[in-house]
Subunit: 338 residues, 2 copies
DNA sequence: TTGTACGCGTTATCAT
DNA sequence: ATGATAACGCGTACAA
């Protein structure tokens, strides 16, 4: 009694037998057809098709000590910003031999570290991580892994490896400068989930006010996750404390939309009574009445660029630039047209 | 000269040597600590910690012919509806031994089939697919795979295996009945990306009008992907053709929001001049001014239930019910309060 | 409770 | 250009 543990699936040897060659020849034919004679190749291709051969990725990974997995670790799957980046990643990964594996940190550094460990243990071809605020342990893991890594969403000094994003501080500063140019003076900052990127946008807000010698800053924030409803609450709280505010720079577009709805509820005219500026330029900002000013960020391109940088690094020709700054565009609309 | 292809990583045998036992004992200890003596277990745990042992998943998969991967195949990562479901999946999968692998069909049946093949070739523990409109080939692949499968988003006859969702037709019907009860009579249907689920919502719209003996139906649709801006355009087109319309049932919330903005632009009062009802009840519907009526669907719970059904099926105790109907709730708000 | 022997399906190495 | 052989790291089957 033989003890067979075979999976019942067609294997390389089955194909080899059918094609009248050895298993290794089939393996080579599948990986690089130029290393096999025309005749053998033709027979192998037929056999593969006839038998419906599908490679066993686990065996490939075990034997070669490599995978074609690109891991992406992002803080949230429901945040529109990250889902756009993800879409860009999927778009770019199509047509490459790579497969995406997704991890969700829910905005916690510890979960990020756990995910990095898990992913690295699978010997991924490359890794995408979000932001520049990894724990020291995570940075160390990534640096010593030998796996190409891209940090996305943000640029900054001291990249782990590759990097694509933009400066949130400069972007926020430009937005607030726009408000100042539009004639607003008592400009508030509305922010939720004060994560590191939001903190740096707050710095940009202060930069702009400082440059303009406006020294009162009106800052309303909450650690709670951002939402449209929260945007309304934040504006309400702000007005209770400082009814004389004349514009709000919102941490993101959901908050800006919520602020608009709240202003409408209170019959505050936008932009004459209150200017509103968001951040990210989601699709609905243009559609709103009045249309809402925002800072356009290049999210799809960010995802696509991340994949391209990784692909090049994996294939051995490291990109010239390790850091790609995709910039941003302040997009003025009716909500700040005084 | 030995030809070693070792990866340089710590293996089971390394741990075994350090603990003074054989590799298989370590293997057992890690999978089911109750099958190993206390003393051995303690030494093994120390060795694992000391050496920083991380299991090689490829080797595990190859030897056992199993993985702990749950594959999820969804049509879009940027659609809020699916990202909520995804969030529910991630929430539920935490604390289980399973890992999620995500596929993105971009709403094409062929890409779905390709992804199902790819996923199945990795011998996943279970699979989540979206909707009930798989190609016959995909259905066959899934049915014969022996892998537990959950269809999510929608209920219907003839499940492939497990199923969790709700009836889009009944939900749409209930929404339109609400509009009729509110006193609206010339009710239009605004729809984008007329995918099968949207088509079934259209049927529900017709059901309600038929029951109420309202026989004119005002249907404005486009195959283009849904967006807030598109919602505005659809309402504009509708008004050009039928200025006497008194309410719109929107295929989804983005379209409803776009319709609201367009109505504001045209100084059409909502709800008195135009009633608006959306579908899915995204967060911003409650925040809008006026707040927008919608149909609440249980997206997080849908994702969570899918994982629970799968987990039970994987572990051998099939759930009592193969089909879970999560239902829906019409949520009336200011936009239909005549 | 523990161990021995071997197979899982593929690729690396070396030889022809 | 092709093949023989061994190795990748782990789990299964069976024995002790």
């Amino acid at each position: 009694m033989k003890k067979s543990r075979r999976s019942g699936k067609v294997t390389l040897s089955d194909v080899a037998a059918a094609a009248g060659v050895s298993a290794i020849t089939v393996s080579r034919a599948l990986r690089d057809s130029s290393t096999v004679s025309e005749g053998a190749l033709a027979r192998i291709e037929r056999a593969v098709a006839d038998l419906g051969y599908v490679p066993n990725v686990a065996a490939q990974a075990l034997a070669s000590n490599r995978t074609n997995i690109i891991g992406a670790i992002i803080p949230s799957v429901t945040n529109n910003v990250f889902s756009d980046v993800l879409k860009g990643i999927y778009n770019a990964i199509e047509g490459t031999p790579y497969q995406l594996q997704l991890g969700n940190t829910r905005y916690t550094v510890l979960e990020e570290e756990r995910l990095v460990r898990t992913f690295l243990s699978q010997r991924p071809a490359g890794l995408i991580v979000s932001g520049i605020d990894q724990s020291p342990a995570t940075r160390e893991l990534l640096k010593t892994s030998g796996v190409p890594v891209v940090q996305i969403m943000e640029t900054g000094p001291d990249p782990i490896d590759l990097m694509v994003g933009f400066s949130h501080r400069l972007a926020a500063r430009a937005a607030v400068e726009h408000l100042i140019e539009a004639g607003y003076r008592r400009i508030a900052f509305l922010g939720a989930r004060m994560d590191p990127r939001t903190q740096r946008r707050l710095l940009g807000y202060r930069d702009a006010l400082g440059d303009a010698k406006i020294d009162e800053d009106l800052i309303m924030t909450t650690p709670r996750p951002s939402s449209v409803i929260l945007g309304g609450h934040l504006l309400g709280d702000l007005l209770a404390r400082r009814p004389d505010v004349d514009a709000v720079f919102c941490n993101n577009d959901d908050i800006a939309l919520g602020a608009l709805f709240e202003a409408q509820r209170r019959n505050i005219a936008v932009p004459s009574g209150l200017g509103i500026c968001g951040f990210n330029d989601l699709e609905y900002m243009e559609a709103a009445t009045p249309s809402l000013t925002s800072v356009r960020t290049h999210r799809l391109q960010m995802g696509a660029t991340a994949v391209e940088l990784l692909a090049r690094a994996i294939e051995g020709n490291r990109p010239e630039a390790d850091v790609v700054d995709l910039g941003f565009d302040v997009t003025p609309r009716e909500s700040t047209r005084r």
